[in-house]
Symmetry: D2
Subunit: 399 residues, 4 copies
């Protein structure tokens, strides 16, 4: 939908209603402006087409590399640096145009690089992070299994068996973003000896490692997810994440990346809202723009309420994180709350567009579909609810 | 998802919790059993594949014809007959397996045949209804325009100009189901002379009539919708719907078919619910089926509440209709209420499945996506709300 | 609020939108008209005043007796008879004007008389039911305890110890409606010998039986609830409900009365809706009645949707019940669903009235407050959800 | 309910989950600790009793005076000073224990003192603010009328007629908090000459000024609201707010105080949540604390999500305000969003308590009832929605 010919008098859609951008430095804002330019000018014209054909727009990668944003939130090792607040804004900014591209970035920079940054040895960081920061190597994160969701990593069925300087991995991973075409995957597996979960940096071309594309998705169709099968896949001890000791490490990674997913949910809402508002300002019914109807304003204002509340919640979450006070339950609450609000919000946006809302061309239907994936990945609402529930009541209710 | 190996002890999913089927006669129940057999055995194995490729499964038509259900609710002219309660159950039963197929049927039997049945002359009924009842001619319904929704037919831009024994039609219609491949379309146009809306039976191969496939839908992808362009399309006066006098006639048709859409919404919920329940009974987490978790039971029971309330509402609606007491506002309330509940319900079903819910193979994602189309077609929630609102308050609030 | 001067042209508020009254016989409708007359003319002028002062309007009892409706749904023994559908309409009709009065009736006729009707011996029925039907004796129902909700009667702490021809009751009951001023209470207690729950007909003036008024309620303030304390309260074996064998009997009673609570919830919605609609038709803002605003119509139509769906659900529920097919889970679903919808509905009604909604005089605030009690009594939403959940999944998730 | 005997191991209820208190200075935190001490130790033991009897606890005023918090957010004139962020926390802290007391404070310090601070002359400020800051004079705010809500002050019916150095006021005001017992009321009236709204500082003992107590409230029963009748009430020109020129000034006041209402809504949620959590941790069912049930954790976590999102939204709102960037639409969005979330939240809290939730003694029912007043005062959800709607769409939809 063309947005260029709005009457001058009409306010341009602005989804930063409470000026949260003021919380960032000028330098960070400059970088975000670059990212927005990339997203709107380069990505936006391609995403509906690629979504329709269930494929990743590799032609975007060169421009993406130039953004130099991989490793945002991590200091050193060639990473983009900055705090998690800045990294959160990046996730939001990308998701505002396309949730799949934000997911590609979240998996690579958040989950894969984050695992190495948080759990890797100095040597591992020095080896992997710089080339991943330059997008020369694209990373994936293999935690979820066909029978075990990401929230329940205690029960992993994938096994690791030490044999001298090597480990033999066996098992399956499901929903592994980027892994059909990326280079390296962090695989979490249960050590048969001590029953602890350990992380491994596995190159995707390792013999015994097979990543099959998951077909027939109705959400995040640009993100390519793999079903990974490992049959006696041999990894050297040097590729075991050295700081990793147990399940706690996956929790450290997820705690951080769940915050980013909350930010993605915010971006998803913003994209849907801006498109819906623009549509409402120009679509006529009964001789006036539908934005002039109370029922339509009701939807738009409820959207903006959800967005603004979620934004301020994420800002505060990242501030806590940057202050070193983040706990699992903080991230889980934001992930659960913001994705619930996102689901409401994209539904209202779709409703504003009436039947046109189901055409990809109007830039709403994609957000509606994609939101379903964001709603469930990195911990379902139920799992995140129970994580918070345990923290506040003192009682676990998982089983 | 295989459903064949459920433990014997587990109750089979049953979405007729309040035994509404008891309201039908044995003969009607027999026919419904045939329809269920067709839907489950013939349609179900094909729909995900066709949905994914955005195409209509023509191979189903021969079996569909054998069902002899077109024209249900209309007496005579080779129609399937029965009351609207029975016709409602048919819509529900089809939608329970696939909303697109229910829509194909609703457009053909409800909207197209219904227009002829309600607004046609005796001669028109005798000519068209028998062959349509036999599915030899497939019908469409052209009311909605690119700039005018189905709820606002007062402002139609498509024009009809009488010239002797003929009419010249000009204008565009959007979202016209079945019209890319069907045979005949009821076109509603404004008579340039008296400014009244009139209906025309237009054969799709008429010169000046062009039906282009609408691409890039993210919902009801099996239903083929056309963007119709009429440029000096000539139709004989004999093909003008003779009983039609004005906008009131489209309202009569929509009043009837909006009831069927409410029934479709019920079927959509039932399909999603049964699949979600079956999944929950067998999917394990933390060593037990997730159906044993309170949070999952909460979702399932809320679904069943929405379904049961909507079912009983539709039963009563059809009883009113069969008693000749149906008014626009009755149908509008059911359409608005049941589609709102449907949207909630399919969302909960998707949630039960976690990430698997976004794979078409699990038979939930399709319902989620399709529900968005049902939510908006034949009058948005807003339009139906205002129709009821006027009836109960005595004040119109449309503009 | 005066409702007498509505413009002639405005539709009168009608909360039977789908004409469910057509499901009753003429004789039943006549009785209902009497009840409405009583409720509107006699009860309505008193209820706000009594609610404010937390007292029961005993002056209404003579007129109430003349209605001859106690024991509706039970045949014989001087009971009002009729089916449960009719009895449901009675509950709805009373609650439409005042939920406390409906509760007084529900406790006496449904719970107390129902316990004797379902679990009493022939002799007990003949002794008690006729005088209770004539309201000469007012009954209560003592199941809930301070530490045990009505949904969890398996764990009752009140004990019964057999000594010869007598039983010694000890324990406490909470929330016992009518018991501060009524005559007789059905007490459910655990037999110390066989650990089974048994029912006893206890006259309230029995030594050792003390019923203290529960103060400081913010809901159903007209209903007088007692905290009952039994200290060595002696009851003869002849007053033990003879057909009662175990917990199953309380379930039989609750199954029936939960249906009535669903009907009460419907009535509560209807009362709030009619008052809100009337207000909206006459309250002016910006120079027009607020009923003309889309945002107000939205609230009114959502209310009517909830009401109509709940009504049709209850009609069907009672039809199932009258057909002898009612199971616990059917009643639980209606209780949970209708009370959830009621809570939404009364909130919207209050919203229509703006600040005036918090004044008792406008006949909305009382419904809002009272709905909170109805929402939780005779089984919370959670308990009823788990009862349905077990039935549909095959898995109990109570603990 | 006693909260003193919680097991040591259980986490204490903490409704500042994201540590928003860290945004304040140490000095501000000290003052807040004093306020909490007052609220919990002095106010809490009295509020249920006073709520029940619909009266204001004047015995609290001496301790309240010692807090020295009146005029928070205003600099000079003996006011408590600090920013609006601090003032917002004060509102939250008071409402956390009792919404009526927070309202008493909001009317006096926010609306009445705020009107003088924002619209008064230097002389007026010097005369009134110091004694009001010391609570020697208690203020009220008279904008709302029986027929005109606070959101629609353009249509005021109260008139002011200039006669030499005096003004003659005539008209009625409704819902005027504190005015039955306070000293001075800011009256907004339409100047008969220029048709502009002007503000007047009216002492409540002025002849022709009558403040009648509004009876029969079911919410905020501790707050005493007056129905004010002015019959030829004479006020000197010196008591006209000198900076006031028109309706814009009431908007300036409301913009500020609507922010405080959003903060009150947050406090209301926090109070309900903490009580519900404490209850859930200790109330046993089926042999375990109900906090251990998934369905209860679900309610608690949804509450905490609403609270945390609303808190962070209000923090950001106040930051905008302190930065001088606040517009009407910012305050309106927070008022609408936070009060909607509050209503959900207190309902969930009540639900956690089952039937006990309707007893004032359990400290939940009062929050449920009071929330209804907060939801509607200082602009209904509808009015605030339309204020935001106009700002974002560019189209007014008020009429």
């Amino acid at each position: 939908m063309s947005t260029t010919n709005l009457p001058d008098a009409l306010p341009a859609p602005n989804s930063d209603f409470y000026m949260i951008a003021d919380c960032l430095s000028d330098k960070e804002l400059e970088k975000l402006a670059e990212v927005r330019e990339f997203a709107e000018k380069k990505a936006n014209p391609l995403v509906n087409e690629y979504w329709a054909k269930d494929a990743f727009p590799f032609e975007l990668l060169p421009s993406f590399k130039e953004l130099n944003i991989a490793g945002a939130g991590y200091t050193g090792y060639g990473c983009a640096g900055g705090g998690t607040l800045f990294a959160g804004f990046l996730a939001m900014e990308l998701a505002r145009v396309d949730c799949s591209i934000a997911t590609f970035f979240g998996v690579h920079s958040g989950l894969a690089m984050g695992s190495i940054f948080l759990c890797g040895s100095e040597e591992q960081k020095e080896h992997w992070l710089p080339q991943m920061a330059r997008l020369e190597k694209i990373g994936s994160f293999g935690l979820t299994e066909p029978l075990i969701g990401s929230g329940a990593s205690g029960g992993l069925l994938t096994t690791a068996k030490r044999e001298g300087d090597h480990w033999i991995l066996n098992g399956e991973k499901k929903w592994i973003g980027n892994a059909t075409w990326g280079d390296v995957t962090i695989i979490w597996a249960r050590d048969l000896e001590d029953n602890q979960v350990k992380g491994f940096i596995v190159e995707n071309n390792t013999p015994g490692f097979r990543a099959e594309k998951i077909e027939n998705k109705m959400a995040l169709r640009i993100t390519q997810n793999a079903h990974i099968i490992m049959e006696n896949c041999v990894v050297s001890e040097a590729n075991r994440l050295q700081e990793d000791s147990s399940f706690r490490d996956t929790a450290r990674v997820l705690r951080m990346t769940r915050s980013f997913v909350a930010w993605e949910a915010v971006g998803c809402m913003m994209g849907a809202y801006e498109n819906a508002l623009r549509y409402a300002q120009t679509r006529m019914q009964f001789g006036k723009p539908i934005a002039k109807f109370q029922l339509v304003q009701d939807l738009l204002v409820k959207m903006l309420g959800n967005i603004t509340a979620s934004q301020t919640m994420c800002v505060r979450l990242s501030q806590i994180q940057d202050a070193g006070k983040l706990k699992d339950e903080h991230a889980s609450l934001a992930k659960a709350f913001c994705t619930v609000k996102m689901r409401e919000c994209v539904g209202w946006a779709r409703e504003v567009l009436g039947a046109n809302g189901i055409l990809l061309d109007y830039n709403i239907g994609r957000f509606v579909a994609d939101s379903e994936a964001i709603y469930s990945y990195e911990g379902t609402r139920e799992m995140n609810t129970l994580i918070v529930g345990k923290a506040i009541t003192g009682f676990g209710a998982f089983v």
